[in-house]
């Protein structure tokens, strides 16, 4: 079972037959509302006129006595009516309805409004004595059935004043992303309601009071970001977990880095990255590879920018470059052996042109004709023991007309190719005599 279904099932199983007995006050409110609804079911003209007149008479007389007003409430008032306030009081079982006429002329209207204020005042005075904190005031305006406020929104306190209960602050925010790679700039979008101040704690000792802050997490880890919102003295908070994954470290080298590289050479790239699970090589010649240590052969000479992207299992990436991998044209390639074993015959004074590569004469192998050439060989004391300015004449292993000793020599070779390109190379070579000689 996937966790997706799991979440739903837990709730479905638990709540399908969920029962909870509501507090008894709810039925009382329903009962009261039903009585009121039944009362309204009558058409205006069939209203129990005696009741209305009776109630009106009480109100009017109260006003007349307390305010000394001589305003009359006419009978047609009853047909075109808007009920403004209904105060239900269980203790005194007394319904008081204030009825005013919307269609009166302006002068009278002003008068009426004045009166309403007076009536309201009268009620407030009355309320102070009679309404305990258990009583609710239901304010009903306009369409009676549709726009009545719920009791949780309007409550009366024991002073008889109507207090609109402030909605509680609700902390809520969304993040640009809940997981990211270091360093990560994460934007927090505040979706809180009913609050006047914000306090962000990013879980690493850093805080902010901005509304929608952006914070840079520079090191990997799991951070619990908390937004505390406050409205007056009430506060609410919400936390979210932000996971910052470590970045891998990309690094590589070229396996044959000490050599000159030519096209058609097999070049080995060594991956020295850490913290990665996948890599992508780009050899700079439109070729790529996903091997860890790939081999690559360039078709053409040139300078190439080689890049390696190392990617962690959390898809965090790092890139390493070698921006100047120089691949030379194969035609300029000069090959020198690192060892040779001359025979002691003198070998035609070292002339090797077109001979087979038996490796008895030390000489370079070139792919292009050279127009200028000089090869010098030194022994370990720095003494020049051989020099040639003809590429066709190599060292036959003789020094001062006798075979040179078996040891390591240093060579230096410079010159110019046919097309004018200069070259200069150095290296060492080991002279070895085969045992059967």
């Amino acid at each position: 079972m996937s966790s997706k279904e799991n979440t739903e099932n837990i709730f479905k199983n638990q709540f399908e037959s969920f029962k909870q007995t509501p507090p008894s006050s709810v039925w009382k409110k329903i009962e009261r509302k039903m009585i009121f609804k039944r009362f309204l079911k009558y058409k205006p003209l069939s209203l129990n006129l005696w009741n209305i007149i009776g109630i009106t008479a009480i109100i009017t007389s109260t006003i007349l006595i307390t305010q000394n007003t001589t305003h009359k409430i006419t009978k047609n008032l009853l047909t075109e009516k808007t009920v403004k306030n209904v105060i239900t009081d269980n203790n005194i079982r007394n319904k008081s309805i204030v009825i005013t006429d919307d269609k009166k002329e302006t002068a009278e209207k002003t008068n009426t409004e004045k009166k309403i204020t007076q009536i309201n005042n009268a009620f407030n005075n009355k309320s102070e004595n009679q309404i305990s904190d258990k009583n609710e005031i239901e304010v009903i305006s306009g369409n009676l059935l549709k726009e009545n406020y719920t009791n949780s929104e309007l409550k009366s306190n024991n002073e008889g004043k109507i207090n609109v209960k402030l909605a509680e602050p609700h902390s809520e925010f969304s993040v640009s992303t809940e997981s990211a790679c270091e360093p990560a700039a994460i934007t927090f979008l505040n979706e809180s309601e009913n609050c006047d101040s914000f306090h962000w704690n990013f879980g690493n000792g850093k805080t902010s009071s901005q509304k929608n802050p952006t914070f840079v997490f520079s090191t990997a880890g799991t951070y619990t970001v908390t937004l505390t919102v406050t409205s007056g003295s009430v506060s609410d908070f919400m936390s979210k977990k932000i996971t910052i994954y470590p970045k891998p470290n990309a690094d590589f080298e070229i396996g044959n880095k000490n050599k000159n590289l030519y096209n058609n050479d097999k070049i080995i790239f060594l991956n020295n990255s850490s913290g990665y699970s996948k890599c992508i090589w780009n050899f700079g010649d439109n070729n790529t590879s996903a091997y860890t240590n790939p081999e690559h052969t360039y078709e053409n000479a040139g300078n190439y920018k080689v890049s390696l992207i190392s990617i962690s299992d959390k898809r965090c990436a790092d890139t390493a470059y070698i921006s100047n991998v120089s691949i030379q044209d194969l035609k300029y390639k000069i090959n020198f052996p690192t060892a040779f074993s001359p025979d002691k015959s003198g070998q035609n004074n070292g002339y090797w042109k077109n001979s087979s590569y038996t490796n008895t004469i030390f000489h370079p192998v070139v792919n292009t004709e050279v127009s200028k050439y000089r090869l010098r060989i030194f022994n370990k004391y720095g003494t020049l023991i051989f020099e040639s300015t003809d590429i066709n004449i190599g060292w036959n292993g003789f020094y001062k007309n006798s075979p040179a000793s078996s040891e390591v020599y240093v060579w230096e070779c410079s010159g110019k190719f046919e097309d004018g390109k200069l070259f200069k190379k150095t290296g060492n070579l080991t002279l070895l005599y085969l045992r059967n000689q």
């Binding site: 996937s2 966790s3 399908e16 969920f18 509501p22 329903i30 039903m34």
Partner: protein
């Protein structure tokens, strides 16, 4: 044994005793629904009160077809939705493309892992929109199309909000189970 048919018949004639009887039998179930759709018990009481008044006043519209209990539940859910519309302060829409289902931590919970109270708290603490959509889809079994119509949102919004709600719930449950494991230790 209660004769529901008889009670309903009497309720249609506004019989006060029958109304009380109906309330006594069904208010716990209906209140259970209200609690799921509300952020607090006080709000749930308001929903129940308004919804039950609707049931009593519209009982003559019920034509004895289908389940009466189902009809009452629908009215309660609709009342809760109307509360949601009333409470709605802002209307945010998310694109479905933004949402990817994360399956990195596949916790699988058993039915006994959490108490009703704990689960209810998780639902109550959800933002208004998430809570309504989650209830409608996961528990009442509405289709996203119906939810979209009732809440006046797009089909995709319903889907994406639902995924977000579920993601949020899963986070909370993970937190809860971690706390529980700690406490056991």
């Amino acid at each position: 044994m209660i004769d529901l048919h008889q009670i309903v018949k009497k309720c249609k004639a506004y019989d006060k005793k029958a109304q009380k009887e109906l309330y006594d039998v069904y208010s716990p179930v209906l209140f259970g629904i209200c609690l799921r759709y509300s952020k607090s018990e006080a709000e749930a009481e308001d929903v129940l009160q308004e919804g039950f008044v609707k049931i009593l006043t519209k009982i003559n519209d019920f034509k004895d077809i289908g389940s009466f209990e189902g009809w009452m539940k629908r009215i309660i859910v609709n009342t809760a939705i109307s509360f949601y519309h009333k409470n709605k302060k802002y209307n945010e829409t998310y694109d479905i493309d933004e949402i990817t289902e994360k399956n990195t931590e596949n916790y699988v919970w058993g039915n006994e892992d959490f108490t009703k109270e704990e689960l209810l708290k998780v639902i109550n603490d959800l933002p208004e929109g998430y809570r309504v959509i989650f209830n409608m889809y996961a528990i009442e079994g509405y289709k996203h199309k119906e939810i979209a119509e009732k809440l006046n949102i797009s089909h995709n919004t319903s889907k994406s909000q639902y995924l977000r709600a579920k993601e949020r719930i899963r986070e909370k449950l993970e937190q809860l189970s971690k706390i529980k494991i700690k406490n056991v230790k």
